[in-house]
């Protein structure tokens, strides 16, 4: 079952001078078992939307259907814990949520909260560590002696260990070096492919959207501006420019080539397609 969002609104601090409508009627249908990117400028409502998905925020108006849960305004979600286990939410800079003495204990903290026995939780930890690229020698080390990138892996492992059906990530690669970011993104792509996990990704990086995502949702000032598959999205670079995001380098190259007088079909958005369409238009220097 996909995630269905109907006319979702969210107002912060209603009735006070700080009243602020963050979401103004969102209608979305997010397909399951795929990787979907949510993009938009700062303040467009991405983080607010994401926090509705596991019941941290309750909508001010509208409804949300996710994992068999029906969420509507003013109603406490029954069994919200189960929802939070099924929808794993990784916040921005998750490394700041680590607190235990050892990495093993920190990752096992989640499952234990959801009622898993200690021995079983530790088994799960051993399974999840290699997924994030860490080995068992880390188990008894303190999370605070790790580097920033490693801390983030531990924090993400702390969510993956819950075996969520939907994984929601708020800018998981922010502040990582390109190599670390690439590894992180291929991890999510692999989880999606091998375990059929639905992945929702808030990101600013169009290269990642292009490489790893199947669908794109563009938010702007609390509203959905565009929603499409990734191919259609990159055929319309003006969508990105309208919300102030730079298109990926390949798309920029394509634009420059078109300006220089080459004929390139709009659907050419991969390196291979671009090269193929250039064939015959470039004179050989041999």
């Amino acid at each position: 079952m996909s995630i269905e969002i109907n006319n979702l609104e969210h107002v912060y601090n209603p009735g006070s001078v700080f009243e602020h409508a963050a979401l103004k009627g969102i209608d979305l249908s997010i397909p399951e078992h795929e990787v979907t990117a949510i993009i938009g400028q700062t303040g467009s409502g991405k983080s607010t939307l994401v926090q509705h998905l596991n019941g941290l925020l309750i909508p001010s108006a509208g409804t949300l259907d996710i994992c068999g849960f029906h969420i509507q305004p003013l109603l406490k979600i029954k069994d919200v814990k189960e929802l939070r286990r099924k929808v794993g939410l990784v916040f921005q800079f998750p490394e700041y949520q680590l607190f235990e003495e050892t990495i093993e204990k920190d990752i096992a903290f989640g499952p234990k909260n959801f009622g898993t026995e200690e021995a079983e939780a530790n088994e799960l930890v051993k399974k999840v560590l290699p997924l994030v690229g860490l080995d068992e020698s880390y188990l008894n080390r303190s999370p605070f002696e790790l580097s920033g990138g490693q801390k983030r892996r531990v924090a993400i492992a702390g969510i993956l260990v819950l075996q969520p059906e939907i994984l929601v990530l708020d800018e998981p690669t922010a502040g990582l070096d390109p190599k670390g970011a690439k590894e992180m993104m291929s991890l999510f792509a692999r989880l999606n492919k091998e375990q059929n996990i639905t992945v929702l990704l808030v990101t600013h990086d169009m290269e990642h959207v292009m490489r790893y995502c199947q669908n794109v949702i563009v938010l702007d000032h609390g509203k959905v501006k565009h929603t499409s598959d990734v191919k259609t999205f990159f055929e319309h670079p003006e969508w990105m420019e309208s919300i102030g995001i730079n298109p990926p380098s390949l798309i920029r190259l394509k634009e420059m080539l078109i300006k220089a007088g080459f004929e390139i079909p709009t659907e050419a958005i991969t390196t291979e397609a671009l090269i193929a369409s250039l064939k015959g238009q470039v004179k050989s220097h041999e």
């Binding site: 916040f91 700041y96 607190f99 903290f109």
Partner: protein, 266 residues
């Protein structure tokens, strides 16, 4: 977290908002001292009226000022109970379960409640109408004369402004970590005692870690900009007193004077 009303700046643009922070602090001081002078019922009526005028001028809603008292309610109930046991003077009004309730116990409690209420309303008006940085600037200027006897006014003001600056950041951070831990199944409200301790730990430890990080970064950033607390510095903002400031200070000083007279006469 939005329930925390005390100490929040509300941009309502009233005449009180535009007053000089120095005069507002002085007015608050005069009123605070007046409250602690035993001037009897009429003293409190006078102070009460003065504060109500301030409240109206500052465009704050009465309910907003009262809301910041909510955390105090339990303290007041507790006080009443203690007083009922401790104060056994005055006339006996009635008795519950063989315990006599004397008039002085009720009066004493009422006095304390009135004092607390007035104090909270004053501080709420001050913080709701003055931006934290203006407030510290005001404190710094008022402490300036004490520099002659070795009081580091600038350093104190800098410490206060840094502390104030990080309150919203810390609240935001707390909210963020609470959300992150809730996503890992932490339930801050329900659960056994042991689970609750774990829940609090999972919040406090990350908060400490990030606070130390921030302090470190801030210290580095200040050093990198060549900050030296002992060097004289100019101000971006220069304070000016207007007639309303003088009116405010003179009238609040009058309130204080009347209270002293009342206390001496009675």
């Amino acid at each position: 977290m939005n329930r925390i009303a005390l100490g929040r700046y509300l941009p309502l643009g009233s005449i009180v908002h535009e007053m000089d922070p120095r005069s507002k602090i002085m007015i608050m001081l005069f009123l605070m001292i007046s409250i602690f002078i035993p001037a009897g019922v009429w003293g409190y009526v006078l102070i009460g009226i003065y504060i109500m005028i301030c409240l109206v001028l500052s465009k704050l809603e009465f309910s907003y000022a009262l809301r910041s008292m909510r955390p105090m309610v339990w303290m007041m109930v507790f006080l009443l109970i203690i007083n009922c046991f401790a104060i056994r003077t005055g006339t006996l009004w009635f008795s519950i379960f063989g315990l006599g309730i004397y008039s002085d116990a009720i009066y004493q409690t009422l006095y304390i409640v009135v004092r607390l209420t007035l104090m909270i309303i004053i501080t709420t008006i001050l913080t709701a109408t003055t931006k934290p940085l203006d407030l510290t600037l005001g404190i710094e200027k008022l402490l300036k004369p004490f520099e002659k006897i070795g009081l580091p006014a600038h350093i104190i003001a800098m410490m206060i402004s840094i502390a104030l600056r990080f309150i919203p950041t810390l609240i935001e951070e707390t909210q963020r970590i609470m959300n992150a831990q809730a996503s890992r199944g932490v339930d801050m409200e329900n659960g056994s005692f042991k689970e609750k301790i774990m829940a609090v730990l999972s919040l406090v430890v990350p908060l400490f870690v990030s606070s130390f990080d921030r302090a470190d970064q801030l210290a580095n950033a200040m050093e990198a900009r060549g900050y030296d607390p002992n060097k004289p510095r100019t101000r971006y903002k220069v304070l000016h007193m207007h007639s309303i400031d003088y009116v405010g200070m003179v009238t609040s000083a009058l309130v204080l004077a009347v209270c002293i007279v009342l206390a001496v006469v009675l």
